[in-house]
Amino acid sequence: MPPVTWYLYVSAALFALGLFGIMTRRNAIAMLMSIELMLNAANINLVAFSGYLRGHTLVGQIFALFVIAIAAAESAVGLAIIINVYRTVKHIDADDINLMKW
């Protein structure tokens, strides 16, 4: 197994990229995709630690498993909401979804 810090660097990169995506993407679906990137980053951490830490308790893997499930649920709900928004305002450009501000 490669050194754990390698995993950490990869995951940090993915995490930062996910954040970047959320901050820059205008399409709401693309923002959801970026969130998935971040969740994957966390999962990489968990899995890497799970193999790395004393006792090999697999807790990290279990955690990652749950995260995958949650991610699925979240994207389902998220996509539903996006579709609903699309239905009401006919677009999903987050830059233009600003009825409420200040």
Binding site: L19, I22, M23, R26, M31, D95, D96, N98, K101, W102
Partner: protein, 701 residues
């Protein structure tokens, strides 16, 4: 009988209450209620007088007390006491008040507020009588203030007249400036003796002798005051563009001179002296001594009987009474008495000079009153306790007579300006003769009451340890008094009527009878104080007793008076001498005198204007600095901060975004400018905050 003395003020007080509440129903009868009350008071006073002289043999003062107010672990008592001085004052007040009220029936006839007038007179009498019988300094102070109040009410009785109301306000305020002194003196005595009872205070008088009070920089303070006064004086005299620099220059020069001349060393004074001076400051206010005399001439705006009662005979004499009453304190050491003597002497001459040029009959009498009060003060100051009080009594009668006489004249002619009068001798004979008698008494012609009292004062002044200055001032005063009184007589009663429009007539009997009673007293009152055989001095005296009769003094005094009369007669009655040639050289004197030495203007410049400016400034400060800047400013900042939050969104976050947009635009990426309420920016803020927090706490600390 003596224990009933409390009735004396209470009866007029009851009359006051009755008239105030029943006034509309009583209408014209109000006068009789008031007069009945004062007559009763007089009778009670007479009874008490008999009791005092014949039963108590005028021995130890009778004092009665009641618990009044608990003060911590002690109790403040109220009470009244009777001694010879009290009796004397009771007679003076009740008699003059009685005469004035009778006179007023005629004088105030037809006034819309006729009942109110008598109510106020009753209230005044009550307050004055309670001042007289009070044997605690606190009750004295209360009564003192109440007479001030009634004085205010009566001066402003015709409050529709703007001058009257201004005069009333001025009188109240100026005397109140004095009252603060009384008040502080009272507090000082109360604090250091632990009691407000006169007997208790006097008992501890010796304790107050120790020089304890250390007053630094008195000389500097005096220099500053003199400088400011000079500034005011110059400001009042000068005109035009030079006024302000001139005034400042004068102020600086005088300040500098005083600063150099007056010694600066700290002054050690005994507590008694300080207390006495504070009390005397009160007396200066009430008795219209220099420099607080300015209110009295203005107070002549009140109805003439008021002037007679309050501003001639009784209330203004209260200052003298106060000094006399507190004499044991004053005489603890000589400092205070010396001040009293000097101020009195100065006032006596100072006021008399102004009396010469006045054309308003009441004004002349007002200055005469100030001058005579100065005499009394002078008498007390030079140790002539008896003399001062004796003069107080005689003066009360003849000055009341003079005022009522002038009231009669005003009533008869409808004017106060002497230049419009003349030749009234024939038209108003009773008034004329009583007036002449009173004038003689005032001028101090031998045989009249004023002669005896004035002589005693001069005698005391002659023997004063501080030199002869005061004595000469007294003599000059006597001369001036005789001079302006003769002028007054001449202008009013002699010669021919100058204004043909005026059809003078003699007044009715209710007005003439009091004149005659008072004229009688103006003659007779002197004989209880015959030099050498003075009954008055037997009962009312303090300390060492009288001086030997001095014919020199008597001659000088009488001579000055006669000289004054003669000189004035030669000018106005038989016009042999003329002023006109003197005009070019001494015109400024007349201007100075006619402007009352510019005292009013000085106060205006030095006190009133700065005060008004400071009130406005304070208010502006309050509105703009405290409220607007500080309080509302805080609120404003809060509001601004709240909008800042919005602005932070709108301009900072957005502004950066806009800036970026601007850059982007220049770079060729033409995009929209504004976007907010946008979730990406929320995410951006979130990330930035997390990084900031994290960076600060994890990496920097």
């Amino acid at each position: 009988m003596i224990q009933l003395a409390w009735l004396i003020p209470v009866i007029p007080l009851a009359a006051f209450a009755a008239i105030i509440f029943l006034g509309p129903k009583l209408k014209g009868n109000a006068a009789y209620v008031a007069i009945a009350a004062i007559v009763s008071s007089f009778l009670v006073s007479a009874g008490i007088g008999c009791d005092w002289f014949f039963v108590h043999h005028a021995q130890t003062a009778a004092n009665f007390y009641a618990d009044w107010i608990p003060t911590g672990t002690s109790v403040l008592r109220v009470g009244f006491g009777v001694d010879s001085l009290t009796i004397m004052m009771l007679f003076v007040v009740t008699i003059v008040s009685m005469m004035v009220q009778i006179f007023s029936i005629g004088y105030m006839h037809g006034d819309p507020r006729y009942p109110r007038f008598f109510a106020y007179l009753s209230l005044f009498t009550a307050a004055m009588l309670s001042l007289v019988i009070a044997n605690t300094i606190l009750l004295m102070y209360i009564s003192w203030e109440l007479v001030g109040l009634t004085s205010y009410l009566l001066i402003g009785f015709w409050f529709e007249k703007p001058e009257a109301m201004r005069a009333a306000k001025k009188a109240f305020l100026v005397t109140r400036v004095g009252d603060i002194g009384f008040f502080l003196g009272l507090l000082l005595l109360y604090l250091n003796t632990g009691t407000v009872e006169l007997a208790g205070i006097f008992k501890q008088a010796e304790l107050l002798k120790v020089p304890q009070v250390h007053i630094p920089a008195l000389g500097i303070v005096a220099s500053i005051i003199l400088g400011i006064m000079a500034y005011g004086f110059a400001g009042a005299v000068m005109k035009g563009a030079k006024r302000l620099p001139g005034a400042i220059f004068a102020g600086l020069v005088i300040f500098g001179a005083a600063f150099i001349l007056i010694p600066h060393g700290a002054v050690q004074m005994s507590l008694a002296a300080v207390a006495s001076l504070l009390l005397f400051w009160g007396a200066v206010g009430k008795s219209a001594q220099f420099p607080l005399h300015v209110w009295l001439p203005d107070a002549m705006q009140g109805p003439t009987p008021v002037s007679a009662l309050i501003h001639a005979a009784t209330m203004v004499a209260a200052g003298v009474y106060l000094v006399a009453r507190m004499y044991p304190i004053f005489s603890v050491d000589m400092t205070a008495l010396n001040v009293v003597a000097v101020v009195g002497a100065f006032t006596a001459v100072f006021a008399a000079t102004m009396g010469i040029v006045m054309n308003d009959i009441k004004q002349v009498l007002a200055y005469s009153t100030i001058s005579q009060l100065g005499y009394m003060m002078m008498g007390l100051g030079v140790g002539g306790y008896t003399a001062g009080l004796f003069h107080l009594m005689t003066h009360a009668y003849f000055k009341a007579n003079l005022f009522l006489g002038s009231g009669s004249v005003i009533h008869g002619t409808g004017t106060q300006d002497m230049r419009q009068m003349g030749g009234l001798r024939k038209k108003m004979p009773y008034t004329f003769w009583t007036f002449v008698i009173a004038t003689a008494a005032l001028a101090g012609l031998p045989g009249f009451a004023g002669f005896f009292s004035k002589d005693e004062i001069l005698l005391a002044a002659y023997h004063w340890h501080g030199g002869k200055m005061v004595f000469y001032a007294g003599v000059i005063g006597a001369f001036l008094t005789a001079f302006y009184m003769t002028r007054l007589l001449a202008m009013t009663f002699f010669g021919e009527a100058k204004d043909k429009e005026i059809h003078a007539h003699e007044s009715s009997k209710v007005m003439v009878i009091p004149l005659m009673v008072l004229a009688t007293l103006s003659v007779l009152a002197g004989y209880i104080g015959l030099p050498g055989h003075s009954i008055f001095a037997h009962y009312i005296s303090f300390g060492a007793g009288e001086h030997e009769i001095s014919w020199t003094v008597m001659a000088m005094g009488s001579g000055a008076a006669l000289f004054g009369i003669g000189l004035a007669s030669l000018i106005w009655i038989w016009p042999v001498l003329r002023f006109a040639p003197l005009k070019p050289a001494f015109g400024w004197v007349q201007t100075l005198l006619a402007n009352k030495y510019y005292m009013d203007d000085i106060y205006d410049i030095v006190i009133i204007r700065p005060l008004m400016v400071s009130t406005k400034a304070m208010f502006a400060f309050d509105r703009w600095v405290i409220d607007y800047v500080i309080v509302n400013g805080t609120g404003w900042i809060t509001l601004q901060l709240s909008t800042l939050w919005a602005i932070f969104d709108r301009y900072v976050v957005d502004g950066i975004v806009n800036l970026v947009g601007e850059l982007a635009k220049r770079g060729g990426y033409a995009l929209r400018y504004i976007q907010t309420g946008i979730v990406q920016q929320y995410a951006l803020i979130l990330v930035v905050c997390v990084v900031l927090i994290g960076w600060y706490f994890v990496l920097l600390r």
